[in-house]
C-alpha cells in the first residue's frame, strides 16, 4: 500500500473512529463538540486496548487476534456513533459560518504556532534511545505476530515477562495501529503518524480547559491557547518537563500520558468532580484512569493521584461521601493494576 493510502487509513483509525465512537459516551451532554467526541473517543480506545491486551498477553494469543478484536469493536462503536449522530443531530446548533466568525485573531495565532509544531514533529526526527524498548516492542510484535512473547531488546523468547511494562502495553497499541493502517512499519507510525495526532489531541485537551475557564470569551481562549503553545515550545530547559516530552517523543506512552492524558484528566476531574451537576458521565473519568494504565506504569499512580486531589477538593466542597465513593470507584482500574504491579 502506498503512503497516501496509509495516510488515509491513519486518518480513519486515528481521527474518524475515535471521534465517532466518542459520541456514544457524550449522550449526557447536549451539543457535544467534535473536540469533546475526539477526546472521549480516545479514552474509549485506550481503555478498550488495555482491556483486550492484558488477557491476550496472559493467554499468549497472537497479535492478529488482538488486531481483529480491536478493529471490529472500535469499528462497531464508530458505526454506532455515526448512527446516533445522524439520528440526534441537533437543529439548534450554530451554523459553521457563525462559529467561524467567533474565532479571535489570538486563536488564529495559537493555531499557527500549533501548526508549526505539527510540521516540526512530523517532518523532523528525534532520536531517542528509549525506543529500544518502546518502539522495538511494537516492531517485534508485528514481526513475530505475538504479544510480549519475544524480548524487544534481542528478539529472544522472554524467559520472564517484563513486569514494569507488561501492564502498560502501549507499544502493542502501536503495533495494532500499524496493522490497521495497512501494515505500515511501527517505527514509521511511531515517529511520523502518532506525534501530530497526539499533539492535536493534547491541544484539544488544553482547549477544553480554556473553554471551562473562559466559557464566554473566545478572545481569552485564544490567548490562553497561544500562551500554552508558546510555553510548551520553551520548556526545553530540561528533558524532564511534560512540554519536552510533548514536543520530542510523543509516540511513547509516558509522553502521551504527560502531554495528553494528564491534562485531559485534569479537565475531566474539574468538570465532573467539582461541578454540582456535571455535564459529563463519571464513566469518562473511569476510562481516563483505565486508559492511562495502558500508556505507562506511571499512569497507574499519577492518574489516581490527580483524581484523588480533585476528590479531596470535591469532599471539601460538597461534603458528600456518596459522591466521593463514586469518584473513588473511577480509580478502581489503577488500584487493581497497582496491586498486581506490586505483586508481580
Amino acid at each position: 500500500m502506498n503512503l497516501i493510502g496509509n495516510g488515509l487509513l491513519a486518518l480513519v483509525w486515528l481521527l474518524a473512529v475515535p471521534t465517532l465512537s466518542g459520541v456514544l459516551f457524550l449522550q449526557k451532554k447536549q451539543n457535544a463538540s467534535g473536540i469533546e467526541c475526539l477526546l472521549a473517543g480516545y479514552l474509549f480506545l485506550f481503555s478498550l486496548a488495555e482491556l483486550l491486551t492484558l488477557p491476550m498477553i496472559y493467554f499468549g494469543l497472537a497479535l492478529h487476534v488482538l488486531v481483529i478484536c480491536y478493529g471490529v469493536l472500535t469499528g462497531a462503536a464508530a458505526l454506532l456513533g455515526a448512527v446516533h449522530l445522524a439520528r440526534h443531530r441537533s437543529a439548534n446548533r450554530p451554523a459553521f459560518s457563525a462559529r467561524l466568525r467567533g474565532i479571535s485573531p489570538f486563536l488564529i495565532a495559537a493555531l499557527a504556532i500549533i501548526a508549526a509544531q505539527i510540521v516540526i514533529v512530523t517532518l523532523y526526527a528525534h532520536f531517542d534511545a528509549d525506543d529500544a524498548l518502546y518502539v522495538a516492542t511494537g516492531t517485534t510484535a508485528v514481526e513475530t505476530d505475538s504479544i510480549f512473547r519475544y524480548d524487544a531488546y534481542t528478539g529472544k523468547l522472554y524467559e520472564q515477562l517484563p513486569r514494569r511494562y507488561v501492564l502498560s502495553p502501549f507499544p502493542i497499541f502501536l503495533a495494532v495501529v500499524s496493522q490497521l493502517i495497512g501494515g505500515l512499519h511501527p517505527a514509521v507510525v511511531a515517529h511520523t503518524i502518532l506525534p501530530p495526532i497526539f499533539l492535536v489531541c493534547a491541544y484539544c485537551a488544553v482547549y477544553q480547559i480554556a473553554r471551562k475557564w473562559f466559557p464566554d470569551d473566545s478572545g481569552a481562549r485564544g490567548i490562553f491557547l497561544f500562551l500554552t503553545a508558546f510555553l510548551i515550545w520553551f520548556s526545553a530547559y530540561t528533558v524532564y518537563t511534560a512540554g519536552a516530552f510533548q514536543m520530542v517523543r510523543l509516540w511513547q506512552g509516558k509522553a502521551v500520558l504527560a502531554a495528553f492524558l494528564l491534562p485531559l484528566t485534569f479537565w475531566l476531574s474539574s468538570s465532573i468532580l467539582l461541578e454540582e451537576k456535571p455535564a459529563y458521565s463519571r464513566l469518562l473519568l473511569f476510562m481516563a484512569d483505565l486508559g492511562s494504565c495502558l500508556l505507562s506504569s506511571m499512569g497507574i499512580i499519577l492518574t489516581p493521584l490527580l483524581i484523588g486531589i480533585f476528590l479531596f477538593l470535591e469532599l471539601l466542597r460538597f461534603r458528600s461521601l456518596k459522591r466521593t465513593a463514586l469518584g473513588i470507584a473511577c480509580c478502581l482500574p489503577s488500584a487493581v493494576l497497582g496491586i498486581v504491579y506490586l505483586l508481580l
Binding site: A129, H191, K212, F230, F234, Y240, V248, I301
Partner: protein, 261 residues
C-alpha cells in the same frame, strides 16, 4: 523522613534545571490569588496546585510514591503540577482586563518575551534532526542494518545474531526487528555470558581490547560484529574468523567466516 524531603528538593532542582518557569508559576499563582481569587475556577486550580506541592514535598507521601515508582523517576510527579495552565491562566486574566486589543497584543508579546527568556526553546536544544530513512532512526544504523540483512539474505541466513555497541543496540531492532541482538540497551536481555563480556568490553572507550571482544563475540555465537576499530587493529578481530564486509562511518561491519562460507 528528612532524607525524603532532601530528595524532593534535589528532584525539584533537577526538574527545573536552567529554566525559570517555576518562578513564573509562583508569580502567576500569587497574581491569581491576589486579584482573581473570587473566581471559583481560580480557587480550584490554586488549591489543586497547593495539593500537588504538598504531596511532592511531604516526606511521607514522597516515601510512598518513591516506594511505588522508584526514586529515580520521582520527578514525574511534577507532571501533575499545572505549571503551563497556571502561568497561561494568570497571563490571560491579566491581558483580558485590558480593553484595547492593541494593548493586549503588545503585552502578549511582552509575555512571550518573558517566557522565552525564562525558558529554552526546543530547536536550540538540538532536539530535531533530519533522517534519510522513513523509520527515522539514525542513518548510520539504517545503513549498517541494510548491509547486514543483505549479506544474511545472500547467505540464506534466517536467524543471525548481531553485536554492536550501546548506540547500535538501541536502534537496530527499531529499524529492523528481524535482526537478533546479543544484548539490548544497557546490556538488557543479554543472551549468554560471553555476550555479557562483550557488552562490558564494548562499554570501555579507547583503548578497547579488540582481541577479547572478537573472542567473546565468536564464543557468544555472534554472526555479525559491528565496531569502530582503527585500521591498525583490524587484524586483532580478523584472527578470530571475522571478515570485514563493509564500513559505515567509523563503524566496520564484520561477519563470522564460518557463517560466510
Amino acid at each position: 523522613m528528612k532524607a525524603y524531603f532532601k530528595w524532593s528538593i534535589y528532584i525539584w532542582q533537577l526538574f527545573w534545571g536552567s529554566g525559570y518557569h517555576q518562578y513564573l508559576l509562583l508569580i502567576a499563582a500569587a497574581y491569581l490569588f491576589l486579584f482573581h481569587r473570587k473566581k471559583r475556577s481560580v480557587r480550584q486550580v490554586l488549591a489543586y496546585t497547593l495539593c500537588v506541592l504538598l504531596i511532592f514535598f511531604f516526606p511521607l507521601t514522597a516515601k510512598v510514591i518513591v516506594f511505588c515508582i522508584g526514586g529515580n523517576v520521582y520527578w514525574r510527579v511534577l507532571w501533575l503540577l499545572p505549571t503551563v495552565p497556571v502561568i497561561a491562566l494568570a497571563a490571560t486574566e491579566f491581558l483580558r482586563s485590558l480593553h484595547s486589543r492593541t494593548a493586549q497584543a503588545a503585552l502578549l508579546l511582552v509575555c512571550c518575551a518573558v517566557i522565552a527568556v525564562s525558558g529554552r526553546d526546543m530547536i536550540s536544544d538540538n532536539n530535531y534532526t533530519k533522517a534519510s530513512n522513513i523509520q527515522k532512526v539514525p542513518d548510520d544504523v539504517a545503513q549498517i542494518c541494510d548491509r547486514i540483512t543483505a549479506e544474511a539474505e545472500a547467505d540464506g541466513l534466517e536467524n543471525y545474531r548481531v553485536v554492536g555497541d550501546e548506540y547500535l543496540a538501541s536502534y537496530l531492532r527499531v529499524y529492523d526487528p528481524s535482526v537478533q541482538q546479543a544484548y539490548g540497551r544497557w546490556g538488557r536481555g543479554v543472551v549468554n555470558n560471553s555476550c555479557r563480556h562483550v557488552y562490558h568490553l564494548m562499554k570501555n572507550e579507547e583503548p578497547r581490547n579488540y582481541r577479547r571482544i572478537a573472542r567473546f563475540a565468536k564464543k557468544g555465537k555472534c554472526d555479525f560484529l559491528v565496531i569502530s576499530v582503527p585500521e591498525e587493529k583490524t587484524q586483532k578481530i580478523e584472527r578470530f574468523g571475522y571478515v570485514e564486509i563493509g564500513q559505515v562511518g567509523t563503524y566496520r561491519i564484520y561477519q563470522l567466516e564460518s557463517v560466510q562460507e
